[in-house]
């Protein structure tokens, strides 16, 4: 729940910054890709927490699955931009995704520790 709250707070902050910088057009990409980044991090965190304390191969596999989800998020970004460039302008959409995902990734360190 802590990660979800952090993700949603970050989504709100990043979206507000993007709307300030790029105008109202950044509102939907900010909310959608901020929420997507939060969902991906929640799933990746879940995989990792389940593997903590198990053999190293399983921990590595769980971490790899999380990273795979993050790469999938990149492809979703590409798909969204290609599908509707007006609704998902590339720069605000990319910034919304990495702006939420990267700070949340630091929570993985705490989980592993």
């Amino acid at each position: 729940m802590k990660h979800l709250a952090a993700g949603l707070t970050l989504t709100a902050v990043v979206t507000a910054l993007l709307v300030w910088g790029f105008g109202a057009a950044a509102l939907i990409p900010g909310l959608v890709f901020g929420a997507l980044a939060t969902a991906i991090q929640m799933a990746a965190g879940l995989f990792l927490r389940r593997a903590v304390g198990k053999p190293f191969e399983q921990l590595l596999k769980a971490w790899g699955m999380g990273m795979g989800l993050r790469v999938l998020g990149m492809f979703l970004f590409l798909a969204a931009v290609l599908a509707d460039r007006t609704l998902f302008p590339p720069v605000p959409t990319a910034l919304a995704f990495v702006g939420v995902l990267i700070p949340l990734m630091f929570s993985d360190i705490r989980t592993i520790r």
Partner: protein, 286 residues
């Protein structure tokens, strides 16, 4: 940008690397730094208005202070609780001990501990200044020859003044007017006078090399990254290839950024190491 009117990549690269009176925070606008009046010293006109690099120098200095202060506080708390150093404080302790023991003391010798604070300050300050250029909206003050020149001048003065104190007036003059052991009389004087320009040049070349090496390495990395980005603008409008060009360029930029991360640490290490070596050479001059 219209088709057929390509962007000026050179101008774009210089705009991002050169010093300026403004800090660009796209898309949130830009900060205009205050402009102060010129100061006239004789025929010399000096302007001390803060520039982008001055602001980032101040940020680097603040980060060095905060890092060391927080690490020191955490270490004291852990020691008071009879705990072994851990986490961030343990990491910083490892880096500080490495710079102190393996760079300063190992290369300067018995006086190494006396110069260790200077070498450590140089290492961490240059490291933070280098790393600031890799952050969004950031700039590397070490990509400015005036900054690296000032740091090299500091090392030069330390080497020479430290040498004067350690060797005494006669010993220090011996580093400018050397003569081989056993040579006396007019031959020794002639030899010393002949060697003096070479020795003086040798003294000046060392800080010059320090300044240019750090400046060159930090500037070159940013030039490579920005030039690679320029490929997108130059060839990105080729139909059917634009996504491939964008993808390959982005991968290349990520690779060079990772190399730059390594170079930021390496150049801070090289500057600190060579400073310690030059101080040590002068301290043990015969």
């Amino acid at each position: 940008m219209t088709v057929g009117q390509g962007p000026n990549i050179g101008e774009m690269v210089l705009h991002h690397t050169a010093d300026a009176w403004t800090i660009d925070l796209f898309p949130f606008g830009e900060i205009h730094l205050p402009r102060w009046a010129d100061i006239h010293v004789g025929s010399l006109t000096i302007n001390l208005s803060p520039t982008k690099h001055v602001v980032y120098l101040a940020i680097a200095a603040l980060l060095v202070f905060l890092t060391m202060w927080l690490a020191g506080r955490a270490l004291r708390r852990q020691q008071a609780g009879q705990q072994a150093p851990k986490g961030f404080a343990a990491g910083m302790e490892g880096m500080v001990l490495f710079v102190r023991n393996d760079i300063a003391i190992a290369n300067i010798g018995e006086n190494g501990a006396r110069y260790a604070p200077l070498v450590m300050t140089l290492f961490f300050f240059i490291l933070f200044a280098n790393l600031l250029g890799l952050l969004p909206w950031g700039a590397s003050p070490t990509g400015n020859l005036a900054v690296t020149g000032a740091l090299a001048l500091l090392v030069f003065l330390t080497v020479e003044i430290g040498g004067m104190i350690q060797l005494g007036a006669r010993g220090y003059l011996g580093t400018i007017f050397p003569h081989p052991p056993g040579m006396h009389g007019p031959a020794a004087v002639a030899f010393s006078l002949f060697m003096a320009p070479i020795e003086i040049l040798g003294k000046l070349v060392k800080p010059f090399a320090l300044a240019v090496r750090l400046f060159g390495n930090m500037t070159a990395g940013h030039f490579v990254i920005l030039s690679l980005f320029g490929i997108i603008f130059l060839f990105g409008d080729i139909q059917g290839w634009n996504w491939a060009i964008g993808g390959v360029t982005a991968l290349a930029v990520v690779g060079v950024m990772m190399l730059e991360l390594f170079v930021a640490f390496l150049q801070a290490y090289v500057f600190a190491l060579l400073s310690a070596v030059f101080i040590g050479m002068m301290q043990h001059e015969h």
